[in-house]
Symmetry: C2
Subunit: 233 residues, 2 copies
């Protein structure tokens, strides 16, 4: 009986969602080809226009997927949390990356050559179905986002971003502070507004006792009201 390596133990736990769908042979194939890579805060993971070559899975840390738009103005498309897959869409669309990805904080990423994954899909419909599920969910979020970002006012968009950050990364031990450390500029790029507007609107939320801020840490005081602001736009 083969000795179970440290890597195998680590990956089989980290990637348990797909690991359990694989046969022994498939597991070995994954294991032999997977690399574990670390990124420092604000380090780039991939660039717009690069060729996609790996399926990535965020094991630790936080990643932002963003696009640079008109006049270099950046729009955060989605935030990745552990354990989520990313970086594979472009390959399956037969495109180059249309987004960039960077580490929001120190990250551990598992990278698997995307061709390996494609081959696994071909022989393993259940595995493919899992990614159909992931893509379908992302597409639903994207469709919803088009409406939110175009139709809601700044207050509604900022409120929605704060709630979505809370849902993604959770709260700290105090049960109120959103567990992410980001600049007002990032908050603006997530919410489709200028940095000044993010700063100003966040300030009014503070005055209205909806949130409290301590530097970049944001504490949600009145989530119901925040949700309502997000809902009515």
């Amino acid at each position: 009986m083969a000795r179970i390596s440290k890597k195998e133990k680590y990956l089989s736990t980290s990637l348990s969602d797909i690991w359990n769908m694989l046969s022994d042979v498939e597991q070995k194939q994954l294991l032999d080809n997977a690399r574990i890579i670390h990124f420092k805060t604000s380090e780039m993971i991939y660039f717009e226009d690069d060729n996609p070559e790996d399926l990535m899975c965020l094991l630790e840390g936080k990643v932002k997927i963003f696009k640079s738009g008109i006049g270099g103005r950046s729009q955060i498309i989605r935030m990745i949390r552990p354990v989520q897959y990313f970086g594979y869409r472009a390959y399956f669309a037969r495109e180059q990356y249309v987004t960039s990805a960077s580490a929001f904080e120190a990250c551990t990423v598992c990278m698997i050559p995307i061709k390996i994954i494609e081959d696994l899909f071909r022989g393993n419909g259940a595995l493919a179905l899992h990614f159909i599920h992931l893509l379908s969910s992302d597409l639903g979020v994207a469709d919803q986002r088009v409406v939110s970002l175009t139709q809601k006012h700044v207050r509604g968009r900022l409120a929605e971003s704060l709630i979505s950050l809370k849902e993604s990364y959770g709260l700290e031990e105090d049960g109120a502070t959103i567990n992410i450390y980001l600049t007002r500029e990032d908050l603006a790029n997530l919410s489709n507004m200028t940095t000044s507007n993010a700063i100003r609107t966040l300030s009014t939320f503070v005055n209205e006792r909806i949130v409290a801020i301590d530097g970049r840490k944001i504490k949600i005081i009145d989530e119901d009201r925040l949700r309502n602001i997000s809902r009515i736009g």
Copy 2:
């Protein structure tokens, strides 16, 4: 040897992209469960909040997928042309529909119970991969759209919509008129603007000899300029 039915002939041609990926047994399963349904102009095909039950494939006509947003303001999310699949995303995301679909003109739609398709995926990775490709492409378009619709000005958004309509539905025999008949309101809902702004901006395009209009028919006079307006936003 079994007689080849009219339906089989029709579907094997219409759905040739996936038909050729299927075994005899799978083809029969598809055939036995597929229904051909007709819709009249502006008839609803499915509604937001409905349960998704079928994979749909548009065989003839034009379909719009739209969301009703803040204050009932409608946003067209994408336009479907023959032969494209739609209506399956929500099922694979395990959600209800977050969009509605309606016939833009008289349509023929092939409907296949989505559970049948899911089963086919499980046993046929190549088929699943085909839909991974479709979803990946749609997600890329959605990501791009978030930036276009939020960052471009009305002129840029309208120009982009006109070009995308041309790419989707092509031109009439004159080699200039976009092959779709839609109201200014639909054009506005596609481009994230008010109806007045769509009317006004289209008028200025006419004055600038970029397009010509004859009622709802739009003729592209200067595509280069239109593309440039779309590009610079």
